[in-house]
């Protein structure tokens, strides 16, 4: 067998070490031979193969190879089709390079929600502010935006990029005239950053997109959002240690947020056995992480350990609202089930507490955009979500005015 080594390129830029991508290897009749990821080697027999790697935005990188008898190793360079142009939206911000891995293609087709009159003046551009605190039991305070939001100096035309420094639990709020304020949870631990990109669309509306620091986790969210579960499975398979590695079993979390993304994907796929016991480690060792609670609770519930699952869920108020939409969805579902059953095997003692938590979480549900994997909901007061649009005059609202930071011709 010959081992294939994959290297993905966009232009002259190698993606090795930047992001792991799902790879397909097919015979010339298109029959799928194997799926793996670019960081892993793949043994194949002699023959001709069509090899491709998929970006979450839909573009593909290609190569066609012929493997001879007795060949040991073969380097496979995967590059865009010469007739395609894959845009590289490079906005280096302190080393955080934004390649075309955004989620916007899946989420920006609906133009009705965020429609604005042409926001051409700096005064009418969106305003950003950051909140820190516990959305479920308080307190929640607005933070000085200038300390936490670092704009890019050279954004592309019609776009503004910001590095948002997290001091969890935290969320970023986007204020735009005529629309309900948009609150996006910041999935990052203390000292980490997320990249916020705000883009003007041709119709004058604005799209806001938050990307994780870990590009492979970000790619995984992109694939899942687009219903590309084959690619998502490849990124969380045993062959792809970037997100789910043996280290997790020993409580070693290189990137707890990436582990969350991997865990939610495994839960969605029903791959419970691959969660082992590290979901308990995630919750225990990361007390700042709300999703540690929701992931462990869902894991326990799937294993039939419902009393334990409920006890874990009741720890959520101390940590706050989950960072990811799946966390909110799972928590609401399980609490509903346990309270509806009113069963004696689920403790009566905690039922009132569970009911209060369910009511608290349900306040967010009608105003949450479940298309977005990172929990996003509307409301000027993030602790009291609603869908009341702002007026046209944002001048009285404190925050970072984004107007000067948009790229211009």
């Amino acid at each position: 067998m010959t081992e294939l080594h994959f290297r993905a390129f966009i232009g002259e830029k190698s993606l090795l070490g930047v992001v792991d991508l799902p790879v397909e290897v097919r015979k010339p009749n298109l029959s799928l031979v194997a799926q793996t990821v670019t960081s892993q080697r793949l043994p194949v027999g002699p023959g001709t193969y069509l090899v491709s790697a998929r970006l979450p935005s839909g573009e593909q990188l290609y190569n066609t190879i012929t493997v001879g008898e007795g060949e040991q190793d073969l380097d496979v360079e995967l590059r865009p089709d010469p007739d395609e142009e894959i845009p590289i939206s490079s906005a280096p911000i302190s080393g955080f390079e934004n390649l075309s891995f955004g989620l916007d293609e899946a989420l920006t087709r609906d133009l009705e929600d965020r429609k604005l009159q042409e926001p051409r003046t700096a005064e009418s551009q969106p305003v950003l502010r950051v909140f820190r605190g516990n959305l479920l039991q308080g307190p929640l305070t607005a933070q000085a935006s200038a300390d936490l939001i670092e704009p890019s100096t050279k954004p592309p035309l019609g776009e503004a990029n910001f590095e948002v420094h997290a001091e969890p639990p935290a969320l970023i709020q986007l204020l735009m005239a005529g629309t309900p304020p948009l609150n996006i949870m910041l999935p990052a631990r203390d000292g980490e950053r997320c990249l916020l990109t705000i883009r003007h669309r041709p119709d004058g509306s604005v799209n806001a997109e938050l990307e994780l620091h870990n590009l492979t986790a970000n790619a995984l969210l992109g694939f899942t959002t687009r219903g590309q579960f084959t690619q998502a499975t490849a990124l969380t398979s045993a062959d792809s240690p970037e997100l789910i590695s043996q280290d997790l079993l020993y409580g070693k979390f290189r990137d707890a947020i990436a582990a969350c993304v991997g865990a939610y994907t495994l839960l969605r796929q029903g791959e419970i056995k691959r969660l082992h016991n590290w979901t308990a480690n995630l919750k225990e060792y990361m007390p700042w992480l709300p999703d540690g609670v929701t992931i462990l609770a869902e894991h326990l519930a799937r294993m039939g350990k419902h009393d334990e699952a409920l006890q874990v869920l009741l720890e959520l108020p101390d940590r706050g609202l989950p960072f990811f939409s799946d966390g909110l969805s799972y928590a609401v579902k399980r609490l509903r089930t346990y309270l509806e059953q009113g069963r004696s095997d689920v403790s009566f003692r905690v039922a009132p507490e569970a009911a209060v938590l369910l009511d608290n979480l349900r306040r967010f549900v009608p105003f949450t955009d479940f298309r977005r994997p990172i929990l996003t909901f509307t409301g000027l007061d993030p602790a009291a979500p609603d869908e009341t649009p702002l007026g046209d005059d944002l001048s009285t609202l404190e925050g970072l005015r984004t107007g000067p930071y948009f790229g211009h011709a």
Partner: protein
């Protein structure tokens, strides 16, 4: 009559596919005319639908016509339809075929369906609902039955929560051998109607007694929701919902994938290929979301390679009138037309669109007459996979 297909006796206990298909267009207690008086407290602002029962009927027809390509034999189909008069006129074979989709009828049939499904973990289930709906999270939706708004019981007593169905179908002490492959399709308008904003799903009809699941609920059980939470589903009035149209197109062709199965390369549709294809097919017009547990599983085989919608674009556009495009086999040989497309020269429309069987091809562009600004190009190994192949050919050197 509701059990419209029953092959259990022929199967003699072997695993099979058990389906329940529900389509509601004619709601007994919702206004029929524009100015008809109605009680908004009961009707929540909803009106009759025009294509959902017909959509459910078409899904039933698809199952019936494709039963030989399913991974297990078709065992039972339970059908509940509440069509409008216009829908009945459009497809007269619906008349008398199925009982109305009221909540008591659904209750009875769902329980019988579950009992059948629970006989063998190798069984497969297929659940499809089309009608009015409302939603809370991506894991649930309310499905409104034909007698919704009848004023009896609480307001949601004739609405069913998909979450109750989903959880009731988990393996448990009562159903230890429950089917482990379950497909759910909820083709409903899931808009956040203001009247539904504060509803509690537990007020809806509880069809199943849900036992908290046995250890290791690791079913393959995706739920394909027709519309994204908080968005309205769309339909071609009096014809078919966009989602059901896309679903049947994908199941028959557009979600085709190929790999070796039992020693032979075979085309098939699976949970994962269906999810991805629906995203592409519905793009721009509609959205859908997949909840539940989405491990991959075979849904149906395809009897022949799928057809692909091919779009060929010449770059730059100035070269279009000079470019003769050809689709050849991967060695550069001409292909017989039909089924392979013969691309006319000059192109009557640009980008040029045609249909081609899935496969690997060479695309060649010849500049006629030669022009120093442009160059002939040959592109081998073009992987033309369903549903759509957006091909670009750059003829500048």
């Amino acid at each position: 009559m509701t059990l419209v297909i029953d092959h259990r006796e022929q199967l003699q206990g072997r695993a099979g596919l058990h389906a329940v298909i529900v389509g509601v267009s004619a709601y007994d207690f919702l206004p029929r005319e524009e100015n008809e008086a109605f009680d908004p407290q009961l009707t929540m602002g909803l009106r009759q639908l025009s294509s959902t029962a017909l959509s459910a009927f078409k899904v039933f027809c698809w199952l019936q016509e494709h039963q030989n390509t399913l991974p297990v034999p078709l065992a039972t189909v339970r059908l509940l339809l509440s069509p409008t008069e216009a829908e009945q006129a459009a497809r007269q074979e619906m008349e008398g075929l199925a009982d109305p989709a009221t909540r008591p009828n659904f209750d009875k049939e769902a329980k019988a369906w579950r009992a059948d499904a629970a006989k063998d973990p190798r069984n497969v289930t297929f659940f499809y609902f089309a009608g009015h709906g409302a939603q809370q999270t991506p894991e649930d939706a309310l499905m409104l039955m034909a007698d919704f708004g009848n004023g009896e019981g609480v307001r949601l007593s004739n609405a069913v929560d998909i979450s109750n169905i989903y959880q009731g179908m988990a393996a448990s002490d009562a159903f230890p051998t429950m089917a482990q492959t379950q497909l759910y399709f909820v083709d409903a308008c899931r808009d956040f109607l203001p009247a539904f904003r504060n509803y509690k799903p537990e007020a809806a009809a509880q069809i199943f007694d849900v036992q908290l699941n046995a250890p290791d609920d690791n079913r393959i059980a995706p739920i394909f929701f027709a519309s994204v939470p908080g968005r309205q589903a769309y339909a071609r009035i009096g014809q078919q919902t966009l989602f059901s149209e896309a679903l049947l197109r994908c199941l028959s062709n557009d979600a085709g994938e190929i790999k070796e199965i039992d020693g032979e390369d075979r085309w098939y549709v699976s949970v994962h290929s269906l999810s991805e294809a629906l995203t592409q097919v519905l793009a721009g017009s509609h959205q859908h979301v997949v909840g539940g547990m989405v491990r991959d599983a075979l849904i149906t085989f395809l009897e022949q390679p799928p057809s692909v919608q091919v779009s060929l674009e010449v770059i730059p556009a100035d070269a279009v009138t000079l470019t003769h495009l050809e689709i050849l086999d991967n060695l550069g040989h001409e292909l017989p037309s039909p089924p392979y497309p013969e691309v006319p020269f000059p192109l009557p429309k640009h980008p040029y669109e045609c249909v081609c069987p899935a496969g690997t091809y060479m695309i060649r562009a010849i500049i006629e007459p030669p022009d120093p600004r442009y160059t002939d190009v040959t592109r081998p190994n073009r992987k033309i996979m369903p549903p759509i192949y957006p091909g670009k050919v750059r003829v500048t050197s």
